[in-house]
Symmetry: C2
Subunit: 213 residues, 2 copies
């Protein structure tokens, strides 16, 4: 086993460390966030930091990196301008197209067009969904929380629209993500197919299997 | 396709809605968080809300549900008492044991013992690692951010220790999570095996494949 202390992590090459630390939490979801500017230009960007905040009210968060010269924050600017955005699952069929939405395009250039993905709109909702995505959420921005430690922002939205295939919705409310080939990400660049191995009941101490040795 | 509006989501059965909304972000990492109380009692709990915050400094976050009569927050109390905790990947070999750490045990009862997992300690670090886990992180608590919308808390820690197998660490700093059989979670109860399908270079607009139609 390799054991890194904090001092050793801090001494690593910057790019090596970025890859390493990005992998440490485990598998992450791959999502495309769709927005539109006040002037009407659609934008699309891949994020692997979407996190469940709560079901009632239905709240979803994502972490936004600090803005730099290399990484403008069109997604953030658009959300602040229009108040709405979409989260769309990335599936195996368009994982490369989704990845390349992370390239630095000029503001106003549509990643939809450049990456060959298709805008789709719901009634009375300004932000573009991704037509190729099977699971699409339309959100209204409710809060941004600054993480001062490293100038990242936790953006939280309330779900206003949810669009998904009937046959992926199970009786208990779970969604069969395997059925729609949603992918998982490790680190910054590695995409994965996912296959169910087990589902367990709500865990109760009284029904504990005999795990003791 | 099924299209739910917010009004329809709010009208769903509580448990159905909890399952549904928990699935919407996509695949999540499965991690065990190890803590110890000020009195020395070890605690272990599964979390699927670990999120990458930043690499420099190396920061990892997780979302903590509000405390209820059903779900005490031993993890939170212990972190506040001792200032340290561990994040340990869940692998296929012990996914059921990991799931059952979510059962409601009395404070002071060790989930390590009840679920047949093994405490492991690093020098000068109070919180227990999970011996069965291949990827183990020791963290020092740095900040808690209250999400007032629904009384959840984003807990952020700095990495002080990182323990992983040499052969899972790739040349560029990426970690081969397939090699150690880390699992992903969908919703609250469904665990998945994960298999790499693609890795792509850092995306540059100048190197964009011809996606346009």
């Amino acid at each position: 086993m390799k054991h890194y202390t904090r001092k050793e992590i801090d001494a690593l090459d910057r790019r090596f460390r970025a890859n390493l630390v990005n992998c440490l939490g485990g598998y992450k979801p791959a999502n495309l966030i769709g927005t539109v500017s006040g002037a009407g230009a659609a934008n699309l960007a891949i994020f692997n930091s979407v996190v469940h905040i709560g079901a009632n009210p239905p709240l979803v968060g994502f972490i936004l990196r600090p803005p730099t010269a290399d990484v403008p924050r069109h997604t953030y600017e658009n959300i602040k301008e229009t108040g709405v955005y979409t989260i769309n699952h990335v599936h195996e069929s368009f994982v490369e197209r989704a990845h390349y939405t992370s390239a630095k395009f000029e503001k106003g250039v549509s990643e939809f067009e450049k990456c060959g993905l298709t805008e789709e709109y719901a009634q009375n909702f300004a932000a573009p969904f991704v037509n190729e995505s099977a699971i699409k959420i339309g959100l209204r921005f409710v809060e941004e929380i600054e993480i001062k430690l490293n100038n990242t922002i936790l953006v939280i939205g309330e779900i206003e629209h949810l669009i998904l295939p009937e046959n992926a919705l199970l009786e208990n409310g779970n969604v069969d993500l395997n059925a729609v080939s949603s992918v998982a990400v490790a680190g910054l660049d590695t995409y994965h197919r996912v296959e169910k191995i087990a589902a367990f009941p709500y865990a109760k101490a009284a029904d504990l299997p005999d795990f003791e040795r």
